[in-house]
Symmetry: C2
Subunit: 173 residues, 2 copies
């Protein structure tokens, strides 16, 4: 009786493992697919500059938008939609006055990036992210990605920029 109990327990445990590791419908190669970007793209800090923006109000940020080679090429050629492989990074910092610069200018006029607040990404993969317009959205704070509930807020907002393939930022010449 004891042996049978152990056998049943082992079978149940194995079944559990199998259930856990089986890929969900639509997943490729058993890899878990989140509906958003969960890993920071390699080398993004070296990418070319697309533009910068200051958001006042509660965001109060100064940001730079960078693009990998695929994104930069598409921007410069004015090609829409962006091709698969394009990645756009938005680096956001607290918007702070530069006392150092103001001293040189002799007046309060200079605003620069303070501490980093977050880094956001848009990764174009029309198959993987078909449900969100072909773009995977990513939001990272201190290296950790936003949770599933927060990440659901990206697409509805970016969808308003349908005319530019969900991308708000224009290329600064």
């Amino acid at each position: 009786m004891k042996r049978l109990t152990i056998f049943v327990a082992v079978v149940a445990a194995l079944a559990g493992i199998v259930t856990i590791t089986l890929p969900a419908p639509g997943q490729a190669d058993g890899e878990a697919v989140a509906p958003f970007v969960t890993e920071i793209p390699d080398g993004y800090r070296d990418w070319s500059w697309i533009s910068s923006a200051h958001e006042a109000g509660s965001l109060n940020s100064l940001g730079a938008v960078l693009g990998n080679d695929v994104a930069i090429k598409a921007y410069r050629e004015g090609k829409l939609p962006f091709p698969d492989g394009a990645i756009i990074a938005a680096l956001h910092y607290h918007y702070v006055a530069s006392d150092e610069n103001n001293k040189v200018f002799g007046q309060a006029q200079s605003f620069v990036p303070g501490a980093p607040s977050n880094v956001q990404f848009m990764v174009k993969d029309s198959k993987k992210y078909a449900a969100t317009g072909g773009w995977g959205f990513g939001h990272f704070q201190d290296g950790k990605h936003g949770d599933a509930v927060f990440m659901k807020s990206c697409f509805p907002c970016h969808e308003k920029a349908k005319g530019s393939d969900l991308v708000f930022t224009h290329y600064a010449p």
Copy 2:
């Protein structure tokens, strides 16, 4: 007498040419050396992003500061003074409100680069630009460099940033 006059005139003319084409002391290969940067460095628009800044007041600009590989390496390693070969580019644009973004946000908060106003460079060459702290300064508007009188204003201002090798911009992490 006529022949002698012509001979003297030819000699004088040749002497004049020689005087004009002889390099000034300190010039290499007879090339004219301006005390500032007269050519836009190749490929600067692809360089990595160092930081951005908004200057309010009469400048009313939104700018991005980019660096070539030598400059970026020095920034990341915190090495001062910058080594020869380092080039820093400052791309300035008119600071404008983005009606497009504000519509999405539902409030006036977004400021982006408008039309380009100028591009400025700092080129490190401790020998060529010894008289201006080892940096050659460049200012280009519509592809044309600033005149000699205007260019004299760069160094006295940048000299105030002696502690950071005449460079105002800090690297945004």
